[in-house]
Amino acid sequence: MSKSKLILLAALCGVIQLSCADIVFAEVLWLSEVPPPKSGSAAPVKADDAQHGHHQLAAPVINSSAQSAVATAPSAAKKHNHAGGTEVDGTGEVVDNTHSGSKRVWLRRGSAPLSSGYVGTGRDSEMLTMLSLEGALPDAVMQIENDRLNAKIELPDMGFYNAYLTQTMVHGDMLHVQIAKAELLHGSCSAKSVDEEAVAKPIINANMPLELVREHYPNEGLFTRIVSGDTVNFVVMSYGKPVVGATVSMTTQNGWSSSKTSADDGRVSFTMIRDYYTPWLEFKKYHKQTFLMTADLHVPDKVVSNGVVYGSAHYTSTLAGSYYPSPHDYRSYAWGLGIGLFVIVFGGVAIYLYRRRRLKPYKEVRIDDKA
């Protein structure tokens, strides 16, 4: 083989390797509450296949399975016979299951919520670190069911809970940590005994190297929904402290994407766009759409993890959320008040006229004495 051909081949390999590296960072892991379609485009992604490229580049730190970065005492997750998690109704809409204390999350891979594949076999028995406002909960175990890796989680009390799945890999001298986070909510629209504002606070994990925290609304309760047009604030945190200059991107269900850099206080804001356009007859106000937040942080300095020193580190944290169409899209006060006022005015006038018609005018009766 000539020297020029060798150089060309080497260059080609370099390009392929770089592309693979890009794929590794682009194909993020995230936790989804949306169940996989029974037959659809979102085919399961075999973790072994998905990791194949990684193995080519560098073997994971622990070969058997990726481990939770935050070591908590592993404990057996409660087993439940009843089905938990979100359901999809006959029209394909995701049914809201906020009322239920039994949740299910699926591990997905990809940067677009709609097309991300459900991670399949190969990563059984992974642990989800669970955190509530009161502190850590027993870890939940990821299990393979119908070729999809998922976990059934019981949320004992009303309020928010965080679930974290952490995967750690090494690319050369670089540590790559992926943290998939899900913010789960057990709420009720009728639980007046619960101090909603107290239990609806966001939870911050001070043990996470990178975390996206959604700032809750000032009066956020257990049934507050994010709707199109809302401005949603996130804070990028590392070990409980705000991170400046992290790249944060949002991708909506229909693929709209935007990237921003976290400010001095770690905050980054996104306005939820309106991207649900459908004929009126098909419009559903409970149309639940998923958005995916991704934060990337590159640490060029030396990093120590589990006693091993790495030349640099790259952290990726994901957080999925959901949003609904804005009531402004389908509610009209003008029409509502118009109907109410019309009935009041029309009814009032009708009653007035009815009463007037029945009023017998005064008639003077004169008696003719001569008659």
């Binding site: 005994s193 389908y330 509610r331 006060y333 029409w335 109907i339 109410g340 009935v343 009653i351 009463r355």
Partner: protein
């Protein structure tokens, strides 16, 4: 006079309309603003403590969770989960048994609002309307139709016959949904929902009923109570209730005072001298008839068989001379 007799005399001579006004105001504040003071009487109250009044409600009307539960899939409804429906009904029934239809006459916030609108009409000097006997007879059936639909539609949703948008059909047309949240500063229920044909029709109907509620209540005392399915539901369950309205026909002179003060225009209260249990399906147990009766013991309210308020000549005269115009 023993102490007990003295208390009984004082109760029987009470300025009843004033007492009722303050009691109604107390319950109104409790059920419409109680939530701000962390008061929660649960989700099974037999009165219109509207669930749409999210922040302020001190409890919730049972019809809302009942309709939600009846709209479950039949598989779920007739499974162990159905026990939740039964337990909810049991709590509702326990609440109801205590006050019977006194929940309508003294507690219901929507009833209280109607009484306030009546006071406004009286203050403005406009006369009130009454139904003819023919109108009364057929209009009185509407509440049973609404009650039947309130069960049939959610059950039909569970069976897949109707759209889920029709969930809580009565709440959608109940004036409580549109009117009561206004007192908490929530105007969101005054909008028309265009998200689907069903929602558009139901919210349109709700706003139409709200308009009729204001016009009707202005010219007709307790206008909506006549059509209220909760009232019909109460009546069907009222047999074992503790608070009761009794009549002693032998003491009745058929003067008609009780009929004249009755907001619900119930003729039987004056005409029927045979029945001891005089409460009819339209009655709201407001006890205005007892207060207006001049015959000792002809009408009385009893609680678990014990008379708590009865008509006396002395009480009648005191009420007539002191507040001759209020409430009549």
């Amino acid at each position: 006079m023993t102490k007990l007799e003295a208390i009984r005399t004082a109760v029987n001579n009470v300025q009843f309309n004033r007492f009722r006004f303050w009691l109604q105001l107390f319950f109104f504040v409790l059920l419409v603003y109680g939530g701000f003071a962390a008061i929660d009487l649960g989700n099974n109250l037999p009165t219109f403590a509207c669930g749409y009044n999210k922040e302020g409600r001190g409890g919730m009307c049972y019809l809302m969770p009942l309709q939600h539960q009846l709209a479950w899939s039949w598989q779920k409804l007739f499974s162990v989960a159905g026990l939740a429906v039964l337990s909810g009904f049991a709590i509702f029934y326990l609440w109801f048994i205590a006050l019977n239809k006194g929940w309508c006459g003294f507690v219901c916030p929507l009833g209280t609002i109607q009484d306030w609108i009546t006071s406004l009409r009286r203050w403005s000097g406009i006369r009130y309307s009454r139904y003819t006997w023919g109108q009364f007879k057929w209009l009185a059936q509407i509440k049973y139709v609404l009650l039947a639909l309130m069960f049939i539609i959610p059950l039909g949703i569970g069976g897949g016959w109707f759209q889920k948008d029709m969930k809580s059909p009565f709440c959608m047309i109940c004036p409580g949904r549109t009117v009561i949240p206004l007192f908490g500063g929530d105007f969101s229920q005054l909008s028309l929902d265009f998200s689907s044909k069903t929602n558009m029709i139901m919210t349109g109907l709700g706003l139409t009923v709200m308009g009729l509620f204001f016009v009707g209540s202005f010219v007709k005392k307790r206008f909506f109570c006549f059509y209220c399915p909760m009232s019909a539901f109460h009546y069907l369950l009222s047999k074992p209730a503790l608070l009761r309205l009794r009549k002693d026909g032998s003491k009745c002179t058929r003067c008609g005072d009780c009929f004249r003060v009755c907001d619900q225009e119930i003729k039987d209260i004056a005409d029927d001298v045979n029945k001891k249990e005089i409460m009819t399906d339209d009655c709201i147990l407001c006890m205005k008839c007892v207060a207006a009766c001049p015959e000792k013991g002809a009408l009385k309210a009893t609680f678990a068989g014990i008379p708590i308020f009865e008509s006396t000549e002395e009480g009648f005269i005191k009420r007539m001379t002191k507040g001759h115009s209020d409430g009549i």
